[in-house]
């Protein structure tokens, strides 16, 4: 599980660097909107890229709960788990 988390975390980090357009230090506590200054459109594009990558769809109510990178890692893991069921 830890290694899977790590893999998701680094993919998120790479996807974030791409939308922000510069190298950014990302930890589980990084607030996606407030720390990285992404607007809702940028967040949507970034989340859609991750949805493609993991073949999941993130429902809007789940997305609304995501504030930090750590939240996002957990949500993606849960959605992937649901799919495997």
């Amino acid at each position: 599980m830890e290694t899977v988390d790590q893999e998701v975390r680094s993919r998120i980090s790479a996807a974030l660097q791409e939308v922000v357009g510069r190298p950014v230090a990302v930890s589980d506590e990084t607030d996606i909107v407030n720390d990285l200054g992404l607007d809702s459109l940028a967040v949507m594009n970034f989340v859609m890229a991750l949805e493609d990558e993991y073949d999941i769809s993130m429902p809007l109510d789940r997305m609304a709960e995501v504030q930090t990178v750590g939240d996002l890692v957990r949500t993606i893991e849960e959605l992937r788990g649901n799919l495997r069921k």
Binding site: L41, M48, P59
Partner: protein, 407 residues
Amino acid sequence: MSIMSKFAPLKEAYDLLRTQGADPFSLKFDEILSPTEGVLNGRRTILLGTNNYLGLTFDENCIEASIAVLKAQGTGTTGSRIANGSYSGHRELEQRLATFFGRKDCMVFSTGYQANLGLLSTVAARGDHLVIDADSHASIYDGCRLGHAEVVRFRHNDPDDLYKRLRRLNDQPGDKIIVVEGLYSMLGDTAPVKEIAAVKRETGAYLVVDEAHSMGVLGENGRGLAEEAGVEADVDFVVGTFSKSLGSVGGFCVSDIDDFDLLRVACRPYMFTASLPPAVIASTIEALAQMQKRPELRAKLVANGKRLYDGLNALGFTTGPQPSPVVAVSIPERGLAVAFWNALLEAGLYLNLALPPATPTGTPLLRSSVSAAHTDAQIDTAIDLFAEVGRQLGVLPDVKTPKRLSA
């Protein structure tokens, strides 16, 4: 700390906007002279951002019909239809809309916003799935939030992405409901509804099409994009509004679904709000008749949209992907867009300023909507003003000679 301090970032942005000129979100017209002209700060101003597609707000027949019913039935119903009952006009309008769309049933709502709120929050229940276009109108997003279904969005106008999202839901129980708009109000682009209907058939989903901006605009009879694309049979629910082509206020949903009428006692945004005043219903009934009687209005509307679109493109502006009655010009930077909008306003041209993140492009938009009531001269004046201000502000190069359609 005040209860309003949570709006500090909004306040800062709004205050900045207001130091740059007029407040684009709270204009006050001294007078409205016609569907295409008003008086603003004592200046005659061309209205190019009011969604008054067929120009029926001052139609004599609509006004007379409304006055007669106002005198006969009074100013309002003072309550909802489940509590206070329906007036004859409510049912008549529903029957006429159902007939117009070739459907069994129709429900009228008090606004277009409530039509989406009502339908989406009710037909999609817990355990169901709403799959909506990412660029959907706020009323679609809010309708989704009001209900208990799971909501997923797909990439704007991308049937492949839609298919992928539905495939991921394959082994999940519950109804799947696709929601798209006929014509998207920001850029004036239409949905690839033929391809979307094919996805719907293949996946066994339901399909809702919001024809708010396309009713009276698209299709040989003005029934909207689904008519134009020949896929009406695949559309389970058509939602629309009276506040654009029909020149009044209100919304509706038509459908062939069995037991559609059950929604009247299940749909909270229908049940717990006052019904439309009879005079509004009367002008809407007449406007629907005028729309059907006068297809030339639609032809003129389409021609006006194309005239504006071609004119602005010839000047070198960046516009939406296709000509339509909505013509949006993308301006690269926020301050420039605000200055542009203010300069147009001061020169006597009103249109909409749309700022990110409320725009699909991520850039500010100067959004126009033309009317069948605009004259060629008014459209040409608008194009000239765009050219003039565009050069003053350096959005357009100085030297480029505009290719004009005709003088």
